[in-house]
Symmetry: C3
Subunit: 140 residues, 3 copies
């Protein structure tokens, strides 16, 4: 949530924003539907255990079998705060670059076709180039 | 803890420090006593589930029903390390700006009167302005 | 993992890297074998509860009694990604400075002899000096 709220604020203020997604963060960029791809058994298990996309992501430290997340989603709707998937959509439309860490994809067995449209692949060198050039650089 | 230790180090070295508190971090700025304010039922539940102020905040990943936090507090006292609430007090006295994220306050139903004295309200634009200008900028 | 992968990328690109380890992060720098040092009972309990070195560190949010960590280690081996302890060794060999937070060592009762070779001790002033001078600075 914080990532996308800061990113959308920054684009609104005229900055260029690139977001890198590594390890568990990658799950945010997964399509919500299963995509038929070749996987090993381990990769398949891994994919099945992790949340597929923003809609299925826990939003609360106090999860309590999903109650915390459901409460927060309800409050966000009532207060007219955009949902996590709306924030991701807005970010893409406002020109935020979404980069998936290639090594994380490999480790977690996530294939390109399983990610939402408009996501690039990149590595640590690409991240460091951007971070060096950036005015603000956060690890969230 | 790390936030306030780095902040107090930076003020001691002559830097100006602004701390932004979002989501769960906001709980650190709550008064330890209940403040009579108008809230919806959901807001009241939310407020009741979250720790009120620094004294009630977990300090350990190994919480074990409060034992981890109690142990760490005991050790900090023995080693004469200031407690989390002393660190917050010191920060305020040394001119550290404490800014509560207005959107988080709205989402979590936390009212201005429930926060400790000297806290400002601000948004992502204020954060980004400060971060752009700062020499060191951390997301903790 | 992210810390050492970014650090090794940065050294490969010709940057100088200093890593500061505070609180739980300090456990990564502990030797895997017990070292005979004088400790209070509390310090001894603390040391016994925390993982001793990179090999015993949880690598997964989904720990499931160690299964998550074991699965990730297996996948990393299969994909020929260096293990956490290999990453730490590589970092030292490539000139990455490893600095243990002196205050954390004091609080957690960790003695110099219990840390792996080549680790320096330092405080918040040392960290801030380096962070001010650095192009990229992350709290991970």
């Amino acid at each position: 949530m914080a990532t996308f709220i800061i990113a959308s604020g920054a684009t609104a203020m005229g900055s260029q924003v690139t977001l890198f997604f590594t390890f568990w963060g990658l799950n945010l960029l997964r399509r919500s539907n299963a995509v038929p791809v070749k996987k090993t058994i381990i990769e398949r298990m891994f994919g099945w255990m992790m949340p597929r996309g923003a809609e299925r992501t826990r939003l609360s430290q106090m999860n309590m079998l999903g109650m915390g997340t459901r409460m927060i989603k309800g409050i966000m709707k009532a207060k007219q705060v955009p949902s996590l998937s709306e924030l991701i959509d807005n970010a893409r439309q406002n020109g935020v670059r979404l980069v998936a860490c290639a090594m994380s994809m490999d480790l977690m067995g996530i294939k390109r076709e399983e990610l939402i449209d408009g996501v690039e692949e990149g590595g640590v060198a690409m991240y460091l180039d951007q971070a060096e050039a950036a005015g603000v650089n956060l690890f969230i």
